[in-house]
Every structure is written in structure tokens, then in C-alpha cells.
């Protein structure tokens, strides 16, 4: 496959005219290059959100609240309205937006530091109020933007730039399981954890994003999709190795699964 002789034979592909397009750039995703590192999961998660927005035909009434973190520029990548929140405050900002625009689809896009650390109070109380907003919670176990420091979600023993000897539970605590915590709150309609480490898991991730948006369309309460995501750069791994790290290290601490699914959502028969 990667032999020199094969490489030498690669050339520009021409598509036979009778073929039809089965996958193209989603309309809800801006046609611009994204700034993320090679193999970073953010780009694929953005794309899935955009695909869901297109499939539900809600682009003209969807608003994204972007976080502080690597996805700080998320608002540049979506073809719908957006705002940039202060670090961790996206659920409060989304609350303000949703109260004024109750018929719009409002979601926050937050990393683990943003949501589970500095913004833990805001997400907790948005959940308690049952704000009908969507929360896309990207958990890559580190503070990516600032260069790979320990996050509240960093697994025990994992070395980061601020836990150089590995996270020590005696002095640095244990990883927070925010999705399980929020699933105990009655205002939460949908709380699931998904992963980006395989094609099958990514398909489930997209389905979960779609259900989260569907929960909001039905006004059911807060919906949260935690996504185990790769940060090859700060994990010091290749993009392919990073997927193994999710599967082997992160998924054992953070099992994928459904922690809360509103019955009315279970009965929804929409295609995913």
C-alpha cells in the first residue's frame, strides 16, 4: 500500500460522469479551512453538527455559542449565527439567547476545561432549570489551546504539562464524570457519552447529536452529548495512535453509553 512503486502510480483522479455525489461538504459548514491540528476531532464534530443542521433543515434558526478553548473559532466554521462566550459561560449566554429566542435552536460547543472546570456552575444550573438548549461537550482530557495542561477530565496517571509526573489522585483529584452527574437532574432530557475512536462510534456520535437537537426541537429540556475526542498534538501521539488512546485509556474511565434519554425522545422515529 505504501510502497514506493504504488506511490509513484498515484495521480489525479477523474470521476466518471455517470457517478453521483453521495457525500459533499455540508451547507451549514462554512467552506473555509479549519485551524485545528492534524487528526484533531473538532473538525469532524463540527462537520457532524453541520450535517445534522442540514438534515433537520434548521440552519436559518440555529445559533451556536462558541467556547474559549481550541474551538474558540467555531463561529467562523458554521454557516449560521453564533456568539463567542467567556470561558465556561456558554450555558449562561445560551440561556439569555434562548429566553429571548425560544423558537430558535441554540447549542453550546464546549471543551472539558470550559464545561467541566471553570463553567461547571453554569452548566449545572442550566441543567437544573431544564434550559432547552443543546450542549456539545468535547472531552479530550487536556486543555488543548493552552498547550496540554491537566483538565478535570484527565485520567489518573496521565502525564500533562501541568501534571508532569502523571495525575496523582491524592493531590490532583480524580476525573469528573459530568455527564453521569447531569443525568441525575430532572431538567436534563438527554445525556449520553459517545466517542470518536472508530467509524462505528462516530456514526453513533452523529446520531446522538441529532437526537440532542431533536430534544430541543421538542422542547424537552437540556440535552448533552459528551464526545471522547482526540488531541494528538498534546497527547504526543500520531492521529491514529490517538484513536487507540481514546479506546484504551479514555473509554475505560469514561464508558460510552446513554445515561439519560427522555422517553419522548426514545419514541422518536426519525431517521439518523
Amino acid at each position: 500500500m505504501t510502497s514506493l512503486s504504488l506511490r509513484a502510480s498515484l495521480r489525479e483522479v477523474s470521476v466518471p460522469p455517470q457517478m453521483e455525489i453521495v457525500y459533499a461538504h455540508p451547507a451549514a459548514l462554512a467552506d473555509v479551512p479549519m485551524h485545528y491540528c492534524p487528526g484533531c476531532s473538532h473538525g469532524a464534530i463540527h462537520r457532524m453538527i453541520a450535517e445534522v443542521v442540514d438534515e433537520l433543515a434548521i440552519r436559518e434558526r440555529t445559533l451556536c455559542v462558541a467556547p474559549v478553548g481550541c474551538a474558540v473559532f467555531a463561529y467562523k466554521y458554521f454557516n449560521f449565527d453564533s456568539c463567542e462566550a467567556a470561558h465556561g459561560r456558554a450555558p449562561a449566554m445560551a440561556t439569555g439567547l434562548k429566553r429571548i429566542l425560544p423558537d430558535r435552536i441554540i447549542f453550546t460547543y464546549q471543551g472539558d476545561g470550559d464545561l467541566a472546570s471553570i463553567g461547571a456552575n453554569e452548566i449545572l444550573h442550566a441543567a437544573l432549570r431544564g434550559e432547552p438548549i443543546g450542549v456539545i461537550f468535547v472531552n479530550n482530557a487536556v486543555y488543548g489551546m493552552t498547550g496540554g495542561q491537566m483538565a478535570p477530565t484527565t485520567p489518573v496517571g496521565m502525564k500533562t504539562t501541568s501534571s508532569p509526573l502523571g495525575r496523582d489522585p491524592l493531590t490532583q483529584g480524580r476525573p469528573i464524570h459530568l455527564t453521569e452527574m447531569l443525568a441525575t437532574i430532572s431538567g436534563v432530557a438527554y445525556a449520553v457519552r459517545r466517542s470518536m475512536h472508530s467509524v462505528a462510534e462516530m456514526r453513533k456520535t452523529k446520531k446522538a447529536i441529532r437526537l440532542a437537537f431533536q430534544a430541543q426541537l421538542q422542547g424537552l429540556g437540556l440535552s448533552l452529548v459528551e464526545i471522547l475526542a482526540a488531541c494528538p498534538t498534546n497527547w504526543r501521539l500520531t492521529p491514529v495512535e490517538a484513536l487507540d488512546f481514546i479506546r484504551d485509556r479514555m473509554a475505560s474511565e469514561y464508558p460510552v453509553g446513554d445515561f439519560k434519554v427522555d422517553e419522548r425522545l426514545r419514541n422518536w422515529s426519525g431517521e439518523c
Binding site: 455559542v65 463561529y75 449565527d81 456568539c83 463567542e84 459561560r89 449562561a92 440561556t95 439569555g96 439567547l97
Partner: protein
């Protein structure tokens, strides 16, 4: 409309409602809580948004979100709560969305107490958050003025896409006075052309305060500063009281200013021609008018319920042309007319003896 007796915090709330506020987000803190409680009763019955947030941090960020959607959004708090709101205020300023904030100041630093204070002067006019910006800060001295300024605040906030802060103190928030309420205005129907509410029939919009490129952020700052210059030129407000023939000028704002009026009259009864200059806009500070008045004065007395914060603005306007004295009470102590009058008379007598010239007694704290 007939005058009726109102409590300060509730009068501010009703004035905001009549001005067409769409959404109130707040958190309880003495001495402003009645404002929040009044909103909790009135806003739902009008079909508008009231939400008690989990913190002042959340409240100001809810205001930020609602303001991004083009709503007339506001919050109210007191000094420690305003400290917590600084983050959100900075983002709102950087994003250039309008909002109104009421600060019913209390004693500090730290938990301090719940008595009246003016010690947020720097916080509001100088350091309402990180980065270069100033909110438009309005300091009423009476409840009627508080209502009138509150009523005008959303128009100012939307005209300049800026933060307007109504700066009162615990006395103003808690006192009762007769007030004539302005008429009820209908909530605004159209959404501003900068707001985000769904990209239907137009390109998507993003509201942000993030500009990674240095030159780009400098340009944003230059635009902000240009806007602040326009506000500084057009929105200075003040009141002059008995200044036409005055030799000595008292400068005070808010609650202290109404006390100072009694002191000015008392000083005149003791033979000192005193007047009062009362800044209503704390930012922009009415330096030009103060500087003009100074030409006829032999001395200036600044009175505040803090350690001398507006004093700096007065000294900049006076530029050393006449002696500036300061009388400050802190910790929730309200200066009495008699002690202010005694300071005015003392200033005049030392000045006549020639002892006071150039020797500014900047700080005089009463035990």
C-alpha cells in the same frame, strides 16, 4: 401621571419596565434585592423575561446572550456582585452589544457591609473589566432623577452599543420619595441589524470580542476609542447649584450631593459664598464644565463616601489652579450637612489667611 411614593430600588425597576426592558437577569444582594424582587413580580405578568441566575457571573452572561439577540437586557447588583460581573462586562464592551446595569453601591472592600458607599467609582468608571473601555456611568441624586436616567438608559445603550451603568448607593436604593413615573413604552419590535437571531435570508453573523491578529485588534480598539470620544463629547451631564456668584465650590455626586446642597446653604448663611457642582455622568466626567467653573473659585472641596476616587477627576480638571480639599467618609458612614458646611467655612477662612494656598489637604477622614 400623578406623583406617588416609591422605594428607590422598585422605582428603578418600574422605570426600566416602562422603558421597555425585555429581560432581567439578576442575583440577590443587599441593598439592591428589592429591584430583583420587583422584577420577579412584574416581568412575568408582562410576558417578559425574568430569571434569577445562579450567580452574578451567570447573570451578566445571560444579559450578554440576550443582548446579542438584540433584546433590551439588564441586571442589577451591588458592589461585590459588580466585581463578579467584570468579566462579562468586558466581553459585552468588546462585543459592542448594549446593556444596562444598576449598581446600588455598598461598603467595601471585601464583604464590607450593606451600608451606602460610593467606593465603586473607580470600579465603574475606570476598571469595569479588563481591556480599554468605559461604561457610560450615570449617578442620580434623587429618585425622580434615577427614574428619568433609567428611562433614558436603554436608548443611550442602543445608540452607542455600549454599557450604561446607573450608579446609586444603598441610601438611594432604600429610600422612599415621591416620583412621577414616565409613560409605558412598548417593547421594541425590530431586531437591530447587528444582532444574532438566526441567519434567515442574510449571511450568518457572529458576535465576538476575539481578534487574534494584533493589527486587527488595535483597529477594533481604535474604533472603540473613537466611539468613546463621541460619548465623552456628547453625554456629559451635570448640575450647578448656586455657582453663579460662588467663591468656593463643593463637588459631590449622588446621595452626597443632595446633602452637600444643605451644606452649601448653611455655609452661605455663615457668610461663605459656596456653590455645588454635581456630576451626573461619572463617565464621561464633565471636566470641561468643572474647569470653566474653577476660573471664578478660590477653593474646591470634594466630598465623597469613599477614600477619594472622584477626587482624581476633580484634580485633573482643576489642574492645580486652586487648592482642592477632600472630605471622605467610608464604611457606610454618610457625611452630615454640618460637617460639610464646617469644611467649606474652614476652607474659606484658611484661604483668606493665605495659609491654604498650594497646601492641599487632600485627605481628611473624620473619626
Amino acid at each position: 401621571m400623578a406623583r406617588a411614593l416609591w422605594k428607590g430600588n422598585e422605582a428603578l425597576a418600574e422605570a426600566a419596565i416602562r422603558a421597555g426592558v425585555d429581560a432581567f437577569f439578576g442575583y440577590p444582594i443587599t441593598p439592591q434585592t428589592e429591584l430583583l424582587e420587583y422584577m420577579a413580580r412584574r416581568m412575568p405578568e408582562l410576558g417578559r423575561v425574568f430569571l434569577q441566575a445562579e450567580s452574578e457571573i451567570a447573570a451578566i452572561n445571560m444579559v450578554y446572550g440576550a443582548a446579542c439577540a438584540g433584546a433590551r437586557a439588564m441586571t442589577s447588583s451591588s458592589s461585590p456582585g459588580i466585581s463578579l460581573m467584570q468579566e462579562g462586562l468586558s466581553y459585552i464592551a468588546g462585543s459592542e452589544v448594549p446593556c444596562v446595569v444598576v449598581d446600588i453601591m455598598r461598603g467595601g472592600p471585601g464583604l464590607g457591609n450593606i451600608q451606602p458607599s460610593q467606593a465603586d467609582y473607580f470600579q465603574l468608571t475606570r476598571s469595569a473589566g479588563h481591556g480599554d473601555f468605559h461604561p457610560l456611568v450615570l449617578a442620580p441624586a434623587t429618585l425622580q432623577e434615577a427614574v428619568d436616567l433609567m428611562y433614558a438608559s436603554f436608548d443611550l445603550a442602543f445608540r452607542y452599543r455600549t454599557i450604561v451603568i446607573i450608579a446609586g448607593d444603598g441610601a438611594l436604593g432604600q429610600m422612599m420619595e415621591p416620583v412621577e413615573m414616565p409613560p409605558m413604552r412598548p417593547p421594541a419590535q425590530d431586531r437591530p441589524d447587528w444582532a444574532v437571531f438566526g441567519a434567515k435570508g442574510r449571511p450568518p453573523r457572529a458576535i465576538t470580542s476575539l481578534y487574534l491578529d494584533a493589527e486587527e485588534l488595535e483597529q477594533v480598539n481604535q474604533r472603540l476609542q473613537a466611539k468613546l470620544k463621541v460619548i465623552a463629547a456628547g453625554e456629559q451631564r451635570w448640575e450647578c447649584y448656586l455657582t453663579e456668584d460662588a467663591d468656593y465650590l463643593v463637588v459631590a455626586f449622588g446621595t452626597v450631593a443632595r446633602i452637600a446642597k444643605s451644606a452649601v446653604r448653611a455655609a452661605r448663611a455663615m457668610g461663605v459664598r459656596a456653590g455645588l457642582f454635581r456630576p451626573i455622568s461619572l463617565w464621561p466626567y464633565p471636566s470641561g464644565m468643572l474647569g470653566t467653573l474653577i476660573a471664578q473659585m478660590r477653593g474646591v472641596l470634594v466630598v465623597e463616601m469613599n477614600a477619594g476616587q472622584m477626587l482624581e477627576d476633580v484634580r485633573m480638571a482643576v489642574c492645580g489652579r486652586v487648592p482642592v480639599r477632600f472630605l471622605g467618609r467610608m464604611g457606610g458612614v454618610i457625611p452630615l450637612p454640618d460637617e460639610i458646611a464646617a469644611e467649606i467655612v474652614h476652607m474659606a477662612r484658611t484661604r483668606q489667611r493665605g495659609n491654604g494656598h498650594g497646601a492641599q489637604r487632600l485627605l481628611q477622614f473624620k473619626e
